[in-house]
């Protein structure tokens, strides 16, 4: 914890007070049919900050995350990314998404490509990188998640943990400013959750701005700068992990955490 604060002090520490938030969410609303999934969500994510979103299933965590890169279109409200309003007509969502990496619960690796091609597809297609150059970048990221040996492997032959690490490397190849993690370890069995969390922990330590939806309370407690607890489509409580985990104010938060700490 202390070590991490040193590395990100410039961004998320005291000096960040005057910095612009990287993501600003204001009055966000979203419903699917009659079901109101998000109601009046307001949230700022500062550069270098790690925000974890926790809460029960169906509380709207994932939808909130997916609104940040417009995989879901909000019904009302605004999402600003680097000062650009994603809801505005003239904003090129595709360009903004290049700067927002996303990791999914179900990995979603491209089944028709090997590991390396998964990583180089977007850089070659969008950044007009030479194939060799993109491969060099991809190899660096695969190395950092410990999968350089699997570069030529078929993605269908990897374990869940390996797939998720490839997915992280793939997102990093676009050199994003922000990484979104949508329950990245929920589809993994407990033994290999650690290898993915380790990669995420290192990424956080390197100063990446991250928004993480997770059920891993230890990760939320130890790695994040801010914890957001969602309940029934609203942010019930948010604050520093020390506060949320030791002195939660909202009764729902207390109830939720109690259940987790028991189990």
């Amino acid at each position: 914890m202390a070590e991490k604060n040193v590395t990100t002090a410039g961004a998320a520490g005291a000096g960040a007070r005057f910095a612009e938030p990287m993501v600003r969410i204001e009055g966000l609303q979203k419903s699917f049919g009659d079901l109101e999934v998000l109601r009046d969500i307001n949230l700022d994510v500062m550069p270098g900050q790690v925000v974890t979103i926790i809460g029960a299933s169906g509380s709207g965590k994932s939808t909130l995350l997916r609104c940040i890169n417009l995989l879901e279109t909000p019904d009302a409200g605004h999402v600003w990314f680097h000062g650009a309003d994603l809801a505005a007509e003239h904003v090129d969502v595709n360009r903004l998404r290049e700067k927002i990496g996303m990791v999914f619960q179900g990995f979603n690796l491209f089944n028709n490509m090997n590991v390396l091609d998964n990583c180089t597809l977007a850089p070659v297609t969008l950044k007009k990188m030479k194939k060799a150059e993109a491969e060099e970048v991809a190899m660096r990221h695969l190395e950092s998640v410990g999968l350089a040996d699997f570069a030529r492997a078929d993605v269908n032959n990897l374990s869940g943990g390996q797939k998720q690490r490839v997915a992280i490397a793939r997102a990093l190849c676009m050199q994003p400013d922000l990484m979104l993690f949508d329950e990245p370890t929920s589809a993994l069995d407990p033994e290999i959750v650690g290898e993915v969390l380790e990669v995420m922990r290192r990424l956080a330590a390197e100063g990446m701005t991250m928004v993480v939806v997770t059920h891993e309370m230890a990760f939320a407690k130890n790695v994040s700068d801010e914890v957001v607890f969602m309940d029934k489509g609203v942010i019930a409580e948010k604050g520093a992990p020390s506060k949320i985990f030791s002195a939660p104010e909202h009764p729902r938060t207390r109830e939720f955490l109690a259940r987790y700490l028991e189990g």
Partner: protein, 387 residues
């Protein structure tokens, strides 16, 4: 090949049951009338011995069956038929039964056809009272009619399917367009128009019979040419029934193949698109690089099926005078005042064509790593030691 060797060399549980059927067929062959060129006619005693060997086999089988029925549960352990020596003897016996049945098949079947062929060749008109001779007579005199029809059918099916595939690719892209956020009004308009056209096309083509489509397309384009002031002879040289048939089968198959492709594309997991879009790829890029290559793989079985359907359905094109196999068959029918025999010939040819096509397509699909799994089955291998 290895499978066949293992099969021949192995002792089988059902050897008596299976080979009894073969023996029965052999006995039926032996009691059927002897053709003119029968070689066993010179060796009557040999045939008699063979016949009674088959009878003996049936008697042994019947004995085993009675034992099995009497000792339903303990048969596997107590019956004399399951002792290793007996099983080996039964295996050699089954070879003998097969050999006898094959000799009889050669004598009655192969020689029978050869005799009929000779008789048909010697005949001055189609033999009326013998079906086989009649069919062979038609083949001898009209094989050219049938081979021309066969070639046209293959051309129509192959070219029609290939052209239709490329048209379906274009059409399916129009069909699956959905309006995306960054699209301006112009793009939105064209996407809606393309999608609407594809839907309407598919509804109309799939909702009308191909025979009627041929009867509309052929004369309609004929009339168009007529409008330019060409004479009938000139138009006939240009707009042939073959071309009319090819256009019909292509346009028809396009609609079906588009639906098959759409099904394949839509069965690609939504997460694939989301992952591509989350990296910043546009809708078109995500479709082209990620979704489509996977979707077409799902569609391969359905697409190959179209070729087989087209081989058969090209038969309706005879209605506009396209000289394919069904037309050839009708022509022969007119010559001999007999519908059954030419139809039997063309049925066999169609069956041969579809079987060859499905075998080739199976190899093709394997090349693309499409492995059909048997539905609901686990394995047909016996557990080790199971009796």
């Amino acid at each position: 090949m290895r499978k066949l060797r293992d099969f021949v060399a192995g002792d089988h549980r059902y050897v008596l049951l299976g080979t009894s059927a073969v023996a029965l067929v052999g006995m039926l062959l032996s009691s059927s009338p002897r053709p003119a060129m029968s070689f066993l006619a010179q060796a009557f005693t040999v045939e008699l011995v063979m016949y009674y060997l088959l009878v003996a086999w049936l008697v042994v089988s019947a004995a085993a069956l009675v034992l099995k029925l009497a000792h339903w549960r303990s048969y596997g352990t107590t019956s004399p038929f399951v002792r290793p020596a007996a099983r080996r003897a039964l295996r050699y016996g089954s070879y003998a039964v097969w050999a006898i049945a094959l000799v009889l098949l050669a004598d009655r079947g192969v020689m029978g056809v050869a005799s009929a062929w000779q008789a048909a060749a010697a005949a001055s008109a189609r033999p009326q009272d013998d079906m086989l001779q009649g069919i062979l007579y038609i083949l001898q005199h009209d094989h050219q009619t049938f081979t021309t029809g066969l070639a046209t059918t293959v051309e129509l099916a192959v070219f029609g399917t290939v052209f239709a595939f490329f048209l379906a690719l274009l059409l399916v892209f129009a069909r699956i367009q959905t309006v995306d956020r960054p699209d301006n009004d112009f793009v939105r308009f064209w996407k809606r128009l393309g999608c609407g056209f594809a839907k309407a096309y598919s509804t109309v083509i799939r909702g009308t019979p191909m025979m009627i489509q041929a009867m509309i397309i052929y004369p309609a384009i004929f009339a168009l040419f007529r409008g330019t002031g060409m004479t009938t002879t000139e138009i006939n040289g240009l707009w042939t029934p073959f071309l009319g048939g090819l256009v019909t089968i292509t346009l028809n198959s396009t609609a079906y193949m588009m639906e098959v492709l759409r099904g394949g594309i839509e069965s690609v997991d939504r997460g694939q698109t989301e992952a591509a879009r989350s990296l910043g790829l546009s809708q078109w890029q995500a479709m082209r690089k990620v979704v489509f290559p996977q979707g077409i793989k799902f569609a391969i079985p359905g697409l190959s099926n179209e070729l087989i359907i087209n081989i058969k359905d090209s038969s309706v094109l005879s209605v506009i005078g396209t000289f394919e196999l069904a037309f050839a068959s009708t022509t022969a029918t007119g010559v001999y005042y007999n519908q059954l025999q030419p139809s039997l010939i063309s049925a066999v040819v169609y069956l041969f064509l579809t079987m060859v096509a499905s075998w080739l397509l199976g190899k093709f699909a394997k090349h693309f790593d499409v492995k059909p799994e048997p539905v609901g089955s686990t394995s047909d291998k016996n557990l080790v030691g199971e009796e």
